[in-house]
Amino acid sequence: MFTLSNSLVKVISAAWKRAVEIPQSERRRVTEIVLGVLLFSLPFVLSDLFLIDRFGRYFVWAIFAISVDLMWGYGGMLTFGHAAFFGSGGYLVAIFTTRGGSFLPLPLWPAVGLALFVIAVFSFLLATLAFRGRLPLRGVEFAVITLAVAFLLEQYARAGGDLTGGQNGILFEVRLGMFGLDLHRGRGFYALAGISLLIVYVVARVFVASRQGLITRGIRGNEDRVELLGYNVPNVKVGLFVMVAVFAGYAGVLFYVHDGIVSPTAVGATASTQVLLWVALGGRGTLAGPVVGAIVLQHLTATLSGTLLDTWLLVIGVLLIVVVLVFPGGILGHLNRGPAR
């Protein structure tokens, strides 16, 4: 038994050594292909519709995690309040589709478009205040402000009366679908969330590889130097913030329309810090890492909470500590280390 395990360790160790000799970009491509094949083949190998639907939810979380990774992993701007946009997506669509008024209620997709527009405007104003003010915010100051925004929105959601539904939030029955297809549950929702994830991932990957993405990575490394190469850093940061807010808002739309209920915790600090764990676990600044982190942690949570009724949080906490100690850069962050070529 000892000999067998010893041999296994040697084989894994040799495979790992060979893997890290492969150039980073190739390793990343292989990781993405393997991950894509694994995730998108699930409906063909799983028969449990509930589980397929659950993976659709994980995909939505993954979109949320990608948006945080762009901001934190690539832009170097830690945000403690990103659920403000995720939850706002749910609240705004719920309000636009259920409340009465001059142009309300709206059908689902116009409501989604309007919700994302409102999120874009709100995030633009917030980022303008944060990055273009007399004393532009950086580092911890920025993180604290994002936390404050999430806290304020949560308080407003609780105290918002008929508009936000107060403590109970808003129950709404709008079905996800397009072109006559029902995409609200099971394989339909899985397909909608999966395609959305794929689109967001590709857009994020193209952005990271673009001129703007290189400038963003430069800001993470040394903001002052970027400015002294002639770039208008506040403008770059505002643009990035609006993009990630819209991604998070779209993820929130899918998630809460699918659930049919949105409540004050949706925009609060708990959801905001949860997503940071996914990104840290998967590997910030990798894009694929946060996808893995979101899916693995949420699946573990869903599975363990049903079996280890009293201790599942403890188990997940210990697992997180172990993973962070063994892979300080996150799982895929560790895999992606090595030669750049």
Binding site: G221, L228, A340
Partner: protein, 242 residues
């Protein structure tokens, strides 16, 4: 020689302390100006005011006829100013080529976007061709300093500001940096250079003109030999001047 930069009666205070006090000088094309002085003389504050990290309380800074006294740093860069720090500020997680691409990518006002050929030329100039794919954090201090100079040069500045470029360098690296400065000027890559430096041998090798700062003001200017004979300068360096 045309005047590229005019500094007129610039003053910068922190609380009641005047770190830069009524400083005036002109920077002409084709010259390397050395800025020397003891610690606390105001050299770094003056550089900060020149590149726009902080704004002058009074006085004015004119670049090529444009008043830049109150415009932000990135706008000054677009008007032709380049700044290289004493503590290198390259992007440690990016490769050498990616660092240079960041210098070459800018497409703002006064656009002269650089090409791959420009990057190859700069790599040759700073002697890092063989390390183009290496991550910047793996370079030595001297190589990082040259990489930073390369990044700044790709933004095609007219005026280059260097803050203690030889700090932490070996003698050989400092000599190579001196050669680099002279060649930048002789081959027209930049039109003028301002060097803040404690290394007087380096200043002697590169600068035609030296400005000596003491307690926020300029107390002497001229060639290195001229200012070294100046009694005020000798007293200020030896600590006898009150």
């Amino acid at each position: 020689m045309t005047t590229l930069l005019e500094v007129r009666s610039v003053r910068k205070s922190f609380g009641g302390f005047a770190a830069v006090d009524d400083v005036s000088f002109e920077l002409r094309s084709g010259e390397i100006t050395g800025l020397v002085g003891s610690n606390g003389a105001g050299k770094t504050t003056l550089l900060n005011v020149l590149y726009g990290k902080t704004f002058a309380d009074s006085g004015s800074i004119i670049m090529n006829g444009t008043d830049v006294t109150k415009i932000p740093a990135f706008e000054r860069v677009r008007l032709g100013l380049g700044m290289v720090f004493q503590i290198t500020s390259v992007f440690h997680e990016l490769s050498v080529t990616e660092n240079l691409q960041l210098g070459a990518l800018r497409k703002g006002r006064e656009v002269r976007p650089s090409s791959d050929t420009d990057i190859d030329a700069i790599l040759a100039l700073i002697g890092l061709q063989s390390r183009r794919f290496d991550i910047a954090s793996t370079l030595s201090h001297g190589e990082q300093q040259w990489l930073e100079i390369g990044m700044v040069l790709l933004a095609k500045p007219q005026i280059l500001l260097l803050d203690e470029p030889t700090s932490g360098m070996t003698r050989a690296e400092a000599a190579k940096t001196a050669d680099l400065c002279r060649s930048l000027l002789s081959n027209g890559t930049v039109a003028a250079i301002v060097v803040v430096e404690h290394n007087i041998d380096f200043i002697r090798r590169v600068s035609e003109r030296v400005l000596v700062m003491h307690r926020g003001g300029i107390i002497a200017s001229g060639s290195i030999d001229e200012v070294q004979k100046d009694q005020l300068v000798r007293d200020s360096f030896l600590g006898r001047m009150q």
